[in-house]
Each structure stands twice: as structure tokens, then as C-alpha cells.
């Protein structure tokens, strides 16, 4: 068991990769064996992630060197810098990995019925497992070029999955927009990595953080890295591709693509907090992120009010929720220079905890809402809200879960959305009141828009066109209940979750003693 935990970072990345390649031959033999392989491998990976999380909370940062005689040997004897591919898992990475494992498992279970009528299902599951591999790679890597490679793996499999339903034209358009945006963003990330490598001759994030100075080329590299990661994470005004791509994908894939957006946001914060460390102009970069976050919150929800397509509606709400996270963590970045405000009890750390807690909560209720959109699409054959009505008579479980999702996303107590939103409001109000005021106005507009969608889809008398609609298949209900169980758990024990996972993640990003660097280089000179 101890050996399993020592090698778990590479196992978590490798098991979905092998399962992806095994899915094709096993799928050609038997469908049930392929479904069992997908679910069992994702469940085992989730178990490994939780075991690794427990190990990190006890023992601190977990470093794994690929190809060395022992996993801790980051710098071989006689060499001055870390030379191999190093996976480094700290509090923030393992939180993202927990989210990814739960949502990937729920998405796989949802896909069992959602794409049951499509052809080419073997390739679907292969691409899904490859996307899971890419996501875990992005979260665990301690190396900039590895980040680029796994970013590309995730983007390519995501784009292929968006364009999976080749019968309709809009899926192809969404997939094309996604791959073009991803390709340009990834090439700009590679350009910035080249800029940093040319100056310091290092690719490892910990080693770079030790020697980086903030020269002009570093400023350009920082601008390129932040904007390239934020275009993939859906920050206004770079969000224009997101509703087109996320609304047409199969609903389980949209849930996973949302967590990919969160992962790109995590990569941006890894660059700002860990790679550049205390070297960058924290008030300037912090205020840039806060300004874009405010814009995302407001533009996201006002565009969502107008939408008639249910999945597009949810995508704009995803943009708005991402804005909350940008604001929370941006406030933490803006006050990073002030040691007292980011220590225990300061509002900088509380704002970062609120933003990171909101990542966790959003990852629980937003995929649930996307799955409900997919359930509506499967039952009625259309995503258009103007044609739906009176579905609460037939889809009882879906209606209950939609009500839970609505209350969560609007921040109604006692659900989990309220816990993270109150933490963000109370702490960013002390930074500048306008941030909290905008957040509260946006919350009100979110509730208004969801009331509108709920009325038009579920309320009202039964329409004659939908007399034959039945409740969604059982595996879709099970997937949605997994996420709802996560919501209920976070609702009942918010303080437990914050102490176990969120505060370690915020402290890992703030990192006052440079624990990330010493884990790789062995000692601060």
C-alpha cells in the first residue's frame, strides 16, 4: 500500500492512458466488458487520488521523479539542477485532482446511456479516457513543457469529443472553434516557454522559481502565459468561443470540459503564484485579473438571461461562475506582498480560500446542471427552451435535481454555493466594496435567469407533444445523484471541507516558505 501511494502520481496518469488503449480491442469484443473497464479504471483512479490526498495532508508535498533510481531523487549526484521529468503534487493540485476524478466518473456513468444510440462508442470512450489522462497530467506536472504537452492532449481529445455527433452541423462548428482557439493558445504557451528557457536554461517550475528575475522578456512571457490560459478558461472578453463549443457537445463531455477550464485557470495561478513567486508586480497583475473577473461575472449573467438554448444558457452561467473565482483569487494575488493579509486570519487568504472553495462547489453543481441539460435534450429531442414546457409532470427526478442546482448556483443558504460566496463577499468587501456589490447583483440576476429557465422547461401544464416522454435512464440519474451527493456533503460539513482541502490549497499557493521550491531543489541556497 505504501508503494502504491509512492508511485500514485504516475499511476493516476498511466492507468487511464492504458485503459484508453485497451478500450478499442475490448470494445470490439464485448460492450459490457468495455463499459466495465471504463468505470472500474476511473473508480480505481478516484480511490488512488483520495489515498494520495490523505498522504499529502499528512506528509506535505509529494514529488515523483520519472526514470530515477528512487522517486525522490530530483537532482542526481554531480548535477546542479533537476534534470528529469518531475511530478509535483501539492495541496492545490490534489484538490483539482479530486474534482476531476469525481466529475470524470460521473461523466462516464452518464455517457453509458446518453450516447447509447450513437455509433463509434469505442472511440468515444477512448477519447474520454485520453482526456482524463491529459487533465491529470496538467494538474500533477512540475515541469513547464509537460504542462504544454498535456494541455494539447486535453484539447485535442476535447475537440474530437465535441464534434462527436457528426450528424449535425453545429457540433462541427463548435469543435472547429474549440480546436482553433486551443491550438493558438497552446502555441503561445510554447512561445512563452521558449522565452523563459532561452533566458534561464531551465524548464522545471520549482527550479525556475528559484532563479527568475522579472526582466522584460519575462514580462512578455507572463502576459502570453496568463492570456493563453485565460482564453481557455473563459475569461471575458476572450470567452466568445465557449458557448458555441460547450453547448453542442454531448452533455457528459461538457461537464468534463468545464473542469478542463478550471484546470487551465489552475495553470494560470500556478504561473502567477509559484513560477513567478514574489517577483511579479502583484498589485498590477492582481487588479488586471480582478477587472476581468468582474467583467466575466456581469457579462456572463446578462448574456445568459437572453438565451433560448438550454445548454448555451448553462455555458454563459459557467462563464459567470468562473468570474467569481477570478475575483476571489485575484484579490489574494493583489495583496500577496502584504504578509499579514495573506497569513492566517487575513482577508487575502480568506479571499483565496473563497475562490478555491468556489472552484470545488462549481465543479459539483455546474456539471450537474449540464447533465440535466443533456437529459432534457435526450427526452425531448431539442435543446430549445421555447419548445419545452410542463416537463415536471414526467421528469420528476430531473426536476428535483434542477431545483437543487438552481439553489446552489444562486447562492441560497444552506447549500454549498452560499458557503463559498459568503466567504468571497465578506473578504473582497474589505479589499474594495464594488467587488462584493457586483457579486451580489450578479447573484440576483442568476436566480432570476434560472427561475425563467425553470418555468419555461418544467412548469406549466403538460404539452400534448410531450405525452410520450419518460423519465431519463437509470445510469444518468445515478451520475447526477453522485454529484448531488457531493453537493449535500459539502452543504452539511463546510467547515470540515475547508479545513481539510481548501485551506491547505490556499496555503500551498501562497507558499510563504517556498515549500514548492525546496521539494524539488532540496534546499534554499
Amino acid at each position: 500500500m505504501a508503494a502504491l501511494i509512492t508511485h500514485s502520481p504516475i499511476l493516476i496518469i498511466a492507468i487511464p492512458l492504458f485503459a484508453a488503449f485497451l478500450t478499442l480491442p475490448i470494445g470490439m469484443a464485448s460492450k459490457k466488458a468495455r463499459n466495465a473497464l471504463v468505470i472500474v479504471s476511473l473508480a480505481f483512479v478516484a480511490f488512488l487520488v483520495f489515498a494520495l490526498a490523505r498522504d499529502i495532508s499528512i506528509n506535505g508535498i509529494h514529488v515523483y521523479t520519472l526514470g530515477a533510481t528512487s522517486p525522490d531523487l530530483t537532482i542526481p549526484t554531480g548535477v546542479m539542477v533537476p534534470v528529469r521529468i518531475i511530478l509535483e503534487v501539492d495541496g492545490m493540485s490534489i484538490l483539482m485532482a479530486i474534482i476531476w476524478s469525481i466529475v470524470a466518473l460521473a461523466a462516464a456513468i452518464f455517457s453509458l446511456s446518453h450516447i447509447a444510440s450513437e455509433t463509434g462508442q469505442n472511440r468515444f470512450y477512448t477519447l474520454l479516457l485520453l482526456m482524463v489522462t491529459g487533465g491529470f497530467g496538467m494538474m500533477f506536472t512540475g515541469d513547464l513543457f509537460n504542462l504544454f504537452v498535456f494541455l494539447e492532449i486535453t484539447s485535442i481529445s476535447g475537440a474530437a469529443l465535441i464534434a462527436f455527433r457528426t450528424r449535425s452541423a453545429d457540433t462541427q462548428e463548435g469543435g472547429f472553434k474549440y480546436i482553433v482557439v486551443s491550438a493558438i493558445a497552446s502555441l503561445m504557451v510554447l512561445f512563452a516557454i521558449g522565452l523563459l528557457y532561452g533566458q534561464y536554461n531551465l524548464l522545471n517550475i520549482g527550479a525556475l522559481a528559484q532563479v527568475i528575475q522579472y526582466t522584460t522578456s519575462d514580462m512578455i512571457a507572463l502576459a502570453l502565459l496568463i492570456i493563453a490560459f485565460t482564453i481557455k478558461a473563459g475569461m471575458v472578453p476572450l470567452h466568445l468561443w465557449l458557448p458555441d463549443a460547450y453547448s453542442v457537445a454531448p452533455a457528459s463531455i461538457t461537464g468534463m470540459l468545464l473542469i478542463t477550464s478550471h484546470t487551465c485557470m489552475y495553470a494560470a495561478f500556478r504561473v502567477c503564484f509559484t513560477l513567478y513567486g514574489g517577483m511579479l508586480d502583484t498589485p498590477v497583475v492582481g487588479w488586471i485579473i480582478i477587472a476581468f473577473g468582474l467583467l466575466s461575472m456581469f457579462v456572463g449573467v446578462t448574456m445568459a438571461l437572453r438565451q433560448k438554448d438550454v445548454m448555451r444558457f448553462m455555458s454563459y452561467h459557467a462563464i459567470s461562475q468562473l468570474g467569481y473565482m477570478w475575483v476571489g483569487i485575484g484579490v489574494g494575488l493583489a495583496v500577496l506582498g502584504n504578509a499579514e493579509l495573506v497569513g492566517i486570519g487575513g482577508y487575502g487568504r480568506d479571499a483565496m480560500s473563497g475562490g478555491i472553495f468556489h472552484i470545488l462547489n462549481d465543479a459539483m453543481y455546474m456539471p450537474l446542471l449540464f447533465f440535466i441539460g443533456g437529459a432534457l435534450f435526450q427526452c425531448t429531442g431539442t435543446r430549445d427552451l421555447t419548445k419545452m414546457g410542463g416537463l415536471a409532470h414526467k421528469l420528476k427526478w430531473t426536476t428535483m435535481l434542477f431545483i437543487i442546482g438552481t439553489l446552489c448556483i444562486s447562492g441560497i443558504p444552506p447549500l454549498n454555493g452560499f458557503s463559498s460566496k459568503i466567504l468571497i463577499y465578506e473578504s473582497v468587501y474589505q479589499f474594495h466594496p464594488i467587488l462584493a456589490i457586483t457579486g451580489i447583483i450578479v447573484s440576483i440576476l442568476i436566480l432570476a435567469s434560472f427561475a425563467k429557465a425553470f418555468h419555461s422547461a418544467f412548469m406549466g401544464a403538460e404539452l400534448p407533444g410531450y405525452k410520450a416522454v419518460k423519465e431519463v435512464p437509470r445510469s444518468m440519474i445515478i451520475a447526477m445523484v453522485i454529484l448531488a451527493a457531493g453537493i449535500v456533503f459539502i452543504t452539511l460539513f463546510p467547515s470540515l471541507i475547508v479545513d481539510w482541502t481548501i485551506h491547505p490549497a490556499a496555503d500551498a499557493l501562497i507558499d510563504p516558505e517556498g515549500a514548492y521550491i525546496t521539494a524539488v531543489t532540496g534546499a534554499i541556497p
Binding site: 472547429f176 507572463l222 496568463i226 476572450l238 468561443w241 444552506p414 401544464a461 460539513f493 467547515s495 470540515l496
Partner: protein, 116 residues
Amino acid sequence: MTSIPEFGYAFWNPIVLIIVFIVVMIVVYFFRRRGQEKYKKDTDQTQIFLCGEEVPEAEQRHIRVGNIYWGFFETLKEYYKQVLRPHTGIINDYVLWFVAVTAIIAIILLIAGIAK
């Protein structure tokens, strides 16, 4: 108790709120029990009453999503005209926004670096 978040800002305990919710639900149940139980199903007693007007069909009665919140959209027409202008759907414009925002951020960072 592990359920009380110690944010230091307010007292907030989800278990207490859930117990309050359950108590209110019990009160609502007792109110409902005092209602009428004797009615004849499938006669005019269960139909919608619109003060004697004719009740339209379900298709026409249901308010569609495009018509809700009309007043809100009328008031904010100018704002929406400006916000809808970038949302063209053309992929070339998306890349133009990317280049423009990168250039602006790089210039801001350079100016802030020089001014320090």
C-alpha cells in the same frame, strides 16, 4: 462542532438551518391537512377557473422563454446592443480579441515595470 464554519464573520450552521426547514415543513403539512378532502375528480371542480373566461389550450397558455422578462430587456436595450456587438460567431474575431488583449496586458505590465 465541525459543521460551523469559523470564518470569523458571522454565525452560520447548516444543521440548524436544516432543522428549521424540517420544522417549517411539518407546520406546512399540518396546514395542508386542514384543507378540503372531498372533491369529485374529473369534473369541473378540478379545471382551471379564469373568472368565467375561456381557458386556452396548454400550448398557447404556457409563457415561452423569449417573452419572460420583456421589461428588463427593453430597459437595458442600449447595454445589450453594445454587448451583443462582439458576439458575432466568426472565428477570426475571436483571435483578434486574443491579440488585442495580449498586447494591452503586455503594455500595461511593461509600463508598470518601468514605472517602478
